[in-house]
């Protein structure tokens, strides 16, 4: 198939910019109103900090899981996703920003500026036998050291692979670049597989410092994986709405729909496995986590669970629905929001206690974050041609048909 007739230059139009700016503007206004409104709440300052962490982590992990998904395509020798390669790279390019923000937030935690992780405070540890027993792992040196190491490795892989992608475009042996990428992707996946789990212990699980769960890391990253897939889908739909992206055919859409459907089930499986085992065993040190959520966040917890599970199941089950761009858009937007709610429920009960709820600050910061993230990613998309050149699977992906 000839690609010379396709318009492969994406331009961030003023209209798109205005939508992003509106999201940022409305979000910031709502946040400021929320900040001045709730000062009577003793947890008010921490609530603001927890929300900052929620949005930093949410968008950071979307770009991290985009990198993971990108590496999977190389390791699996998948051809269909090559049409989405530049879209994935645009999302991945947020990773250095996201990782820097994560590290900055961790440093602020160690310095005692905010109290998202209670075990970082020496006085809290001195008064708590459980935290003392955990202090071989949960201590500031391990926390900052491992966080830095993991983030550095993720960002190095992401920067290297994005650079190689453009280098291969400039001319050169596509097969050679592909093989190099496959080797690095396999190494990255092994590294990511272990470190993402350990990272999730530090970044989210230790907010409820007494609690532990072995499958927590997979559960967190399965949720963020859907976030990454929804982002690819939405960018694809955005390109289509501008009359671009002719290389994305119905079969590509079908496969992306399948991924949204399948990973939703992976997430549900892990969420439910964690919940059911803890509910059944009823051990005090494990149940405390769900007790806090059951007592104070029950409505949100079950709404979030059923939306993230039933909506993709009922709406994306049939073949026609996965090819229907309206369905993909609606389900994508809704479960994108409810996976953010999932992250909210992971962070809030442990860091601000029973009083957490979705109010002006939460919605405002989420809107501003979404606007900023969308603007950043689309600006990255505009920096490179929308389709790769010299890729060994390029013709296969253009003729992709299922």
């Amino acid at each position: 198939m000839d690609t010379s007739g396709m318009n492969l230059t994406y331009i961030l139009s003023p209209k798109t910019k205005n939508i992003c700016l509106t999201l940022i503007g409305v979000g910031l206004v709502a946040t400021i109103v929320g900040i001045f409104h709730g000062t009577a709440d003793p947890m008010h300052t921490q609530r603001i900090w927890s929300n900052i962490w929620l949005d930093i982590f949410f968008f950071f992990s979307i770009s991290l899981l985009a990198t993971f998904f990108y590496a999977v395509q190389y390791a699996a020798e998948a051809a269909w996703a090559v049409a989405y390669k530049r879209i994935m790279e645009a999302v991945m390019k947020f990773l250095p920003v996201g990782a820097s923000l994560v590290f900055l937030y961790c440093i602020l935690g160690v310095l005692g500026v905010h109290h998202t992780w209670k075990w970082l405070s020496p006085t809290a540890v001195a008064a708590d036998k459980v935290l003392q027993n955990k202090s071989a792992f949960l201590n500031p040196t391990m926390f900052l050291g491992l966080t830095f190491l993991f983030l550095l490795a993720y960002v190095s892989y992401q920067r290297w692979t994005c650079k190689m992608s453009l280098e291969a475009d400039a001319g050169g042996d596509g097969v050679k670049y592909w093989k190099m990428n496959q080797r690095k992707a396999a190494i990255f996946l092994v590294f990511f597989g272990f470190t993402s789990v350990v990272g999730s212990w530090f970044w989210l699980m230790s907010i409820d410092a007494h609690w532990f769960s072995t499958l927590f890391g997979w559960y967190v990253f399965a949720g963020q994986w859907i976030g990454a897939i929804i982002t690819f889908n939405l960018i694809g739909l955005h390109l289509k709405s501008k009359g671009q992206g002719e290389f994305l055919n119905d079969s590509h859409q079908h496969d992306m729909g399948k991924w949204m459907f399948a990973v939703s089930f992976l997430w549900t499986y892990l969420w439910f496995s964690q919940f059911m085992l803890i509910w059944y065993a009823n051990l005090p040190e494990e149940v405390a986590y769900y007790k806090a959520r059951w007592d104070d966040y029950r409505g949100l917890l079950w709404t979030m669970f059923f939306m993230n599970f039933s909506l993709p199941m009922l709406m994306l089950m049939s073949r026609d629905a996965k090819r229907n761009r309206t369905f993909i858009f609606i389900v994508g937007i809704v479960i994108y929001f409810f996976h953010w709610v999932d992250t909210f429920i992971m962070i809030m009960p442990g860091s601000i206690g029973a009083g957490g709820h979705i109010g002006m600050i939460e919605i405002g910061m989420f809107m501003a974050g979404t606007g900023g993230f969308a603007w950043f990613v689309l600006a990255q998309l505009a920096k490179a041609p929308l389709l790769v050149k010299n890729h060994p699977y390029l013709q296969e992906t253009l003729h992709f048909h299922i």
Partner: protein, 173 residues
Amino acid sequence: MSAKTIIHGIYNDEEKLKEGAIQLRSARIRVKEVFSPFPIHGIDPIIGVDRTWISICCFIYGLTGMSLALLMTWYMMVGDWPADIGGKPSMAFYMAIPAFIPVTFESTVFCAGHGMAITFFLRSWILPGVSPKNPDPRTTDDMFLMEIEAKPEDESRIVAMLKASGAAEVNVK
């Protein structure tokens, strides 16, 4: 019955067979069946096979399996004799339902999978003791066979079309 002639066009390349089928269809000749050692990508619309209903059957079998499992667990654990296991609430089904989800899941998958396999065997009539419908054993190895049922007066035209499209062998019965 004597009014029909069976013509077998045997190809050694599935792309040639597809070409031949397209030509036959455009000449308004129905391709009765294609026998192949592997699924030929994109053959269904060419020879006019409708989209399969097996996925809808699968959904119905899955729903059946789910309902059976819920009914079974309700009857065993709540309805017939409320069983208290590990202090879990047993007087109402909804309170103990997390414990029944794994078995419901397994039953759904079991019924969907087995139901679909049995439906496939019945629909294709691949059953123990049934003689194979395959007209030529070479189609299980490296040959692709297209079967056409035609009126005797069309026979020579169809044979010529098959040969022109690259059939390695044409048999008329």
